[in-house]
Each structure stands twice: as structure tokens, then as C-alpha cells.
């Protein structure tokens, strides 16, 4: 178990760098845009009567005074004007000067200000992404048409969570999901992946011999074990991926109690321990894998569903608690997984490797919420459309 050398070395005697986030004041309409951006959608308001597309967010159509609705839009644009901001009174941007931004004409119609990639020049065609900024709000980022995101672009790095050279804790390496996540993070260039293993489990063969992977005892049902594990990491901790879950059929009291201990109280033990560590990092993130049974219960797995629902609730609160510190809290929704926990569930099931890829995609794409697999996508679509119907039809 050798560790990769970290390129970044911090002098322990140096004064800690304080981290700020962009100003957070937004209108209610802008928050509606951010909520959709968090789901990875590229939306603008469109009039339900005259179809005019409008931006910045308004409360009524400026063309005919009709009602507005959020609609997915084409993402092309042209850069009309640019500037490099070198002076600001804002603490967050002051730490990131100089900053390039510009005026873009969206193919969808409106003119918008946007953050710019290094390769986009005036007159050039752009692809625009709706990202979530460090303060948790939607922001437009324009890059040259066809350009792939550049992880060495310091502006882009503010909107995503780079995996390369980072130290990452994966909380449970026992199951297929945990092991696939470790392998994916390792392949993506993580400097160090610390993998939790609750006693009395033995180190899994799948993790043997992986460079930069270290297995440590970690039991989320034990407060002391959690704090010992975090202390043992000793250095900077950039990312936590919580893979711990407890899946059983039925509603046995013993199973319910253990599910709550792992999934609900365990999450609290984990977040309360790791939050201060993540807050000190330039791109701290907490990723959690949540069953879409958290949205509406699966009557075949009532105890599991209840624990997942409570878990999702705590996770959402944790996201808001972390807003002021720039730590991103990301949710990966999955349906039934093709693993030992779902032996009795018929296909379609999502492969652990798909979930692992989803974890890396969410981090490096800056996605606050991502649905992995057809079942999770379908569940989210139905729940977003009509929650009352979804709860009924899910268990018919």
C-alpha cells in the first residue's frame, strides 16, 4: 500500500487561508433557476403565451405580460464582449483575481453575462453550461464550442471538484459499490483513497495492491471509530464519499434499528466529524449515494426506505449548513443495485461500476444532484412530475 506523493505541500506553521464564497443574495426566481441547475438542466424562462425567452429571471413576461415557465434551452451562444476583472471589493473574487467574464448572446435569445473559459474569444461560438457556484447558486459558464472542460483552468476549477491529487475517504469498502468507487477514484488520479472497513470484515481482495489506497477501520455506528478514523487521516481531507448503507427486505425492528444507526445517525457522526476538515480545503466535497426509495417508499423494503428518507433529509440540511463554506454536498440517486443486497430484485439494476463512474462525474462535473441508472432517472422524473401519483404507482 504505497501512497502517491502529494504535489501540494503546506507549511504547518503558516496562517491558514480563510475561504470565502461568492455573494449569495438572489431573487426567488433565481433560486428556481438554481434548483434546476442543481439537477444538471440548462433552463431559461419562457412565456407560456408568446414563447419569448427571458433572462435575467423575471416574474412576468416582458413582451406580453404572460406567465413564465422554466424550459430546457439550446446551449449555444456567441461571445460579444469580454473583460478581465482585476479589482474587486468582494473577498471571494479578490482571492481569485484576475477573473475573465463576458457578454454572450444566447442562441435561445437573451443576452447574459457569463464566466469564460480561457479559449473563448470575442466573436467566437460558445457552449454554455449552467453550473453551481461556490455559494450554491446557478451561474453561466461559457467555453469555446466543442471544447472539453479543462481541469487546469483555475476559473473552471471553482465550479467543479477535481479528483486528481486529492485525498478522499470512502466510508465503506465492504460492498461492490464501495470497491467500485475506490477503483474509479484511484483511476481518476486521486493521491490517496482511504477506505473504511467495519470490523470484523477482512480487507477485500478487490482492493489489494491498488496504488494510493489505504484501508482503515471505520464503523459509522461507533462515534469513537469515526473520530479515530478521521484523526488517522491526519493530513488534509478533500472529499468524502459515503458508501455505507444497510439494505434488508421487510420491516424487522432489529434491521430498522441498524439501518437507522448506519444511515441516519452514522451520517451525523460522519458529517460532524469531517465538516471542519472539508471546510479548510479549496474544493471540499461530500458525496452521498442515496436510494431513490428516499423519494417514495418501496413497500418491499420499508425499513430501508425509511432510513434512506431520513438520510436524504439530513443530507439536504448538511448542504445548507455547508453553503457558507463552499463545501459542495452532492447526492447520487440510484435505483436497486446489481449487488449482494439486491439478489431478490429483478432487473433492471444498476451496476456498481456505473455508480462509481457517477461519483467521479458528479465531482468533476460539479453536479449537485445526479441520477445514475434508468431506474433512478425514471423515479426522479415521475416524482418531480407528480409526487402523489408516484407514491401510489410505485407500489401497485
Amino acid at each position: 500500500m504505497t501512497l502517491r506523493p502529494r504535489p501540494e505541500k503546506r507549511d504547518p506553521l503558516q496562517r491558514k487561508v480563510e475561504r470565502h464564497v461568492p455573494a449569495g443574495l438572489r431573487s426567488r426566481a433565481m433560486h428556481a433557476m438554481s434548483a434546476r441547475a442543481a439537477q444538471g438542466r440548462f433552463v431559461l424562462q419562457q412565456c407560456v403565451e408568446c414563447s419569448a425567452v427571458t433572462y435575467p429571471p423575471r416574474d412576468i413576461c416582458p413582451v406580453c405580460w404572460g406567465e413564465l415557465a422554466w424550459r430546457d434551452q439550446v446551449q449555444g451562444a456567441t461571445l460579444l464582449a469580454e473583460t478581465t476583472v482585476r479589482v474587486t471589493t468582494d473577498l471571494y473574487f479578490r482571492a481569485h483575481m484576475p477573473w475573465r467574464m463576458g457578454t454572450i448572446a444566447l442562441d435561445a435569445g437573451p443576452v447574459a453575462l457569463a464566466h469564460l473559459s480561457r479559449n473563448l474569444t470575442v466573436g467566437g461560438r460558445a457552449d454554455v453550461r449552467l453550473m453551481i457556484d461556490k455559494g450554491g447558486n446557478a451561474a453561466l459558464f461559457a467555453m469555446a464550442a466543442g471544447e472539453e472542460p479543462d481541469m487546469s483552468d483555475k476559473q473552471w476549477r471553482e465550479f467543479v471538484v477535481p479528483v486528481r491529487d486529492r485525498t478522499i475517504l470512502v466510508t465503506d469498502g465492504r460492498g461492490a459499490v464501495g470497491q467500485a468507487v475506490v477503483a474509479a477514484l484511484q483511476a481518476a488520479g486521486a493521491a490517496s483513497v482511504v477506505v473504511g472497513l467495519p470490523a470484523p470484515a477482512q480487507p477485500p481482495a478487490a482492493l489489494a495492491g491498488l496504488t494510493g489506497v489505504r484501508i482503515v477501520p471505520l464503523d459509522l455506528t461507533d462515534t469513537r471509530s469515526v473520530s479515530e478514523c478521521l484523526t488517522d487521516i491526519a493530513g488534509p481531507l478533500d472529499i468524502v464519499v459515503n458508501t455505507a448503507r444497510f439494505v434488508r427486505r421487510g420491516d424487522g425492528l432489529i434491521d430498522q434499528k441498524h439501518a437507522l444507526d448506519v444511515t441516519v445517525l452514522g451520517l451525523l457522526r460522519l458529517t460532524q466529524g469531517c465538516a471542519p476538515m472539508l471546510q479548510g480545503r479549496p474544493s471540499g466535497a461530500f458525496v452521498d449515494i442515496v436510494s431513490s426509495a428516499a423519494l417514495a417508499p418501496d413497500a418491499g423494503f420499508p425499513a430501508f426506505s425509511a432510513a434512506q428518507a431520513a438520510h436524504l433529509s439530513l443530507l439536504q440540511s448538511f448542504r445548507h449548513q455547508m453553503r457558507g463554506s463552499g463545501v459542495r454536498v452532492m447526492t447520487l440517486f440510484t435505483g436497486p443495485v446489481d449487488d449482494e443486497d439486491h439478489q431478490s430484485v429483478p432487473m433492471p439494476k444498476v451496476a456498481p461500476s456505473r455508480i462509481a463512474k457517477g461519483v467521479v462525474d458528479a465531482l468533476e462535473g460539479g453536479r449537485e444532484q445526479l441520477c445514475v441508472g434508468d431506474a433512478a432517472v425514471d423515479a426522479m422524473a415521475r416524482w418531480s412530475d407528480d409526487p402523489a401519483l408516484y407514491i401510489r404507482e410505485k407500489n401497485l
Binding site: A23, A105, V111, A139
Partner: protein, 389 residues
């Protein structure tokens, strides 16, 4: 459409400026009160004599003109609050003039006052408007420097105008400021220093930016009879225009609302740009000065770069521009920055300048530009004034 009524039987008097300060521990209320006190000293009028009050400010919150009348002991029968910043001087004038002309008020005090505390600028910029909060400030938080950098970048590309043209305007205004004892920046500014200044938000550099400060400007609008009784010299309004949210289809602002109404401005005035002795335009950034020179018809459309090259804008030049130094040199005292074009224009044609006098000045053109709600200035206004012989 009905024809417009001329501004008969109404005059402007008593332009006053409370000396600007870079930072002030006083409130906007204090600055407004000081402006009234200076008006009182000049006119001999007291709180009970003003039956009209028009107020403009960014920093009087939570108060508006309403809170201000009680704070300042006024009891007007006509009240207006103008939140249009750089366009507020001309807008206050046209509203008050109609009120006086129609007899709704007899003596209106038009006052713009703003303070500037140590952290005022950041707070004003961060919470300026809803669109700004949602869609401008989060993009680098460069404030107006960044917004006008984008407008300047586009303007330079569109009209082939270079930094040296903007530099000539800034240098001329600084030359004008040198005789104004109230200007905050009176040191020599050379074109070289302008061109080599540090970049703030490309292509905007240090001397393209105004210096935010505290201050107040005011004047009164009344009847010729009252002015004569008080022994005040008078200015008459030849014409005015005003427009908001013009040309929303322009993807980047390259012209202002003046273009919609400029023919009306000169037709009503009965004079043309060639008759103007002093030009006082809003100058938060030189690109807006250039835009006003073009849009108000001082040069053929699109030829402002050439016009700047062959025109002398100093006090003794062909077209004396912002003769107190403008905001670029005198300082930007918030909403008072939208009043100083009016007070300075009045002073020059009344022969009561703060600094050097423009020889034989009789006609002043005033132009205002205000409120970058999102990506462009929304409010534009202009007036042509003439001294009453």
C-alpha cells in the same frame, strides 16, 4: 400627439455644491441638510419658504424624500423622489419646472445628496438591483468597472475608437479640474500616464474610473418674479428630453435613449449643437461621454473618434466639456454625480464658475445617464439651458 409646452415663466437659480469629501462619517441626511443650508445662505430662503422638494439619493435608506422632509423640517405642497442616479439632475429639473409652471409649487428645492462611508461602495454595488444581484455581481464582482468594461470593449471594436481617444477626454477634463478648488483630483494627468495606468477591468484602466465620494448638489426652480425679488440670476430651460430602457434589442449598449429624442431636443430648443457654449455630460466612464457626444448630434453618427481627435475640450477650447472636471476628476458623489452636470452648466452660463470661466458662455447643454440595472444604463435625459440676460 399634442405638441409640447415651452418652459415659459419658470427659471432655475442658485446652483450650489457642498464640497465633496472622499469619505464622510456623516449621513446622506446631513449632506442634504448642508445643501439646503447653502441654498438658504445664497437665496435668503428658510424651511417654510420652499413649497416644493425634489430629492435624489442612494444612501438615505431606509428613508425616501418623505423621511427627508420631516428630518429637514420642510412642509412642501409638492414632493418628488427621483431614484435615477446619473439622470436625476435633468429629470428633477423637468418635473419641478412643470410643477412651478402650472402653479402646483412656487419654489422647489432640487437636492441630490449622498454620503460615502468606508464600506459604502461595496454594499451599494452588491445590492444595487435585483438583476444585478442575480446576474451581474456573481460574475467576478467587478462592479460598474466590469459592466462598463464590457460596453467599452464592444464600443471600441464597433467604432474603431482607441484608448487614446478616451484618454484625450479624461486629460481635458483633468485640465478643466485644475482651476476648480472643489475637485478631488487636481494633479496633472498626461496622456502617457493615462495610457500606462494599471488595468482595472480590461480595457478600463485607472483613469477611466471615477472616485466615489460624499457630496451634495442643489438648485432651485421658481418663477422669474420670485427670482427677481430674491435678486437671483436666472437660467431658462429651452428644452428637455428623457427616455428609459431604450433600444432593448441592442445586444450590447452602443447608444442611449438620446437617439430616440435628440431631434425633439434641438427642435424645441431652437438652437443646434453648434450653438452650445458648454457641454456637461454624465461621465462615469469616458465611453459614455463619447456616446453622448455622438448621440446628441455633436458629430455625425459613428464618427466620434474623429471628432474627439480634432476637438479641444478644455475650458478655452472649441467645445468646453465638463468644465468642473466632471466626476472623473471632481469625484462621484452618488446621486449628486447626476446633479453636478446641471449645477456646473448653470454656473458657467450664470458667470459664477467654481474655477475658470468659459468665455462668453450663454448656452449650456446638459446630459444625464443613469442606473445600470443589468448590463446597460437605463435612464437618459438631456436639457438645453440659456442664461436670462
Amino acid at each position: 400627439m399634442r405638441g409640447r409646452l415651452r418652459y415659459d415663466d419658470v427659471v432655475l437659480c442658485a446652483p450650489v455644491t457642498v464640497p465633496y469629501e472622499r469619505y464622510s462619517s456623516q449621513s446622506a441626511h446631513w449632506w442634504a441638510g448642508r445643501a439646503l443650508r447653502v441654498l438658504a445662505d445664497v437665496t435668503g430662503l428658510g424651511p417654510r419658504d420652499f413649497d416644493g422638494f425634489c430629492f435624489s439619493s442612494f444612501s438615505a435608506g431606509p428613508d425616501t424624500a418623505v423621511g427627508m422632509v420631516q428630518h429637514l423640517g420642510l412642509s412642501p405642497r409638492w414632493l418628488d423622489h427621483i431614484p435615477t442616479g446619473g439622470a436625476s439632475g435633468v429629470m428633477a429639473m423637468r418635473r419641478a419646472a412643470r410643477a412651478v409652471q402650472c402653479g402646483d409649487a412656487q419654489i422647489v428645492a432640487c437636492v441630490a445628496a449622498d454620503t460615502n462611508h468606508l464600506d459604502s461602495f461595496r454594499q451599494t454595488v452588491a445590492g444595487f438591483s435585483r438583476f444585478s444581484q442575480d446576474a451581474v455581481y456573481p460574475y467576478g464582482s467587478g462592479g460598474p468597472n466590469a459592466t462598463f468594461a464590457l460596453i467599452t470593449d464592444h464600443y471600441m471594436r464597433t467604432f474603431g475608437i482607441g484608448r487614446e481617444a478616451f484618454g484625450k477626454l479624461c486629460v481635458a477634463q483633468r485640465d478643466n479640474a485644475r482651476s476648480n478648488p472643489l475637485a478631488l483630483q487636481r494633479g496633472v494627468l498626461t496622456l502617457d500616464a493615462y495610457l500606462n495606468a494599471r488595468p482595472i477591468s480590461d480595457p478600463v484602466h485607472l483613469y477611466d474610473c471615477v472616485m466615489p465620494c460624499a457630496g451634495a448638489d442643489a438648485y432651485i426652480v421658481t418663477t422669474p418674479e420670485v427670482a427677481q425679488r430674491l435678486g437671483l440670476r436666472m437660467v431658462r430651460i429651452l428644452s428637455t428630453i428623457e427616455r428609459h430602457n431604450a433600444h432593448p434589442q441592442d445586444k450590447v449598449q452602443w447608444r442611449g435613449g438620446w437617439t430616440m429624442d435628440v431631434d425633439d431636443l434641438w427642435a424645441m430648443a431652437g438652437v443646434g449643437p453648434q450653438d452650445v457654449d458648454v457641454l456637461q455630460v454624465y461621465d462615469d466612464y469616458p465611453v459614455i461621454v463619447a456616446m453622448q457626444i455622438d448621440n446628441l448630434g455633436f458629430c455625425p453618427p459613428g464618427e466620434v473618434a474623429d471628432f474627439i481627435r480634432r476637438t479641444d475640450f478644455t475650458i478655452t477650447g472649441d467645445l468646453p466639456l465638463n468644465t468642473n472636471g466632471g466626476q472623473l476628476s471632481a469625484g462621484q458623489a452618488g446621486a449628486a454625480g447626476g446633479f453636478q452636470n446641471v449645477t456646473e452648466g448653470m454656473r458657467q452660463i450664470l458667470r459664477q464658475p467654481l474655477g475658470d470661466q468659459v468665455p462668453d458662455a450663454r448656452i449650456a447643454a446638459i446630459s444625464g445617464f443613469g442606473l445600470v440595472n443589468y448590463d446597460r444604463g437605463i435612464c437618459t435625459a438631456a436639457a438645453v439651458l440659456e442664461a436670462v440676460a
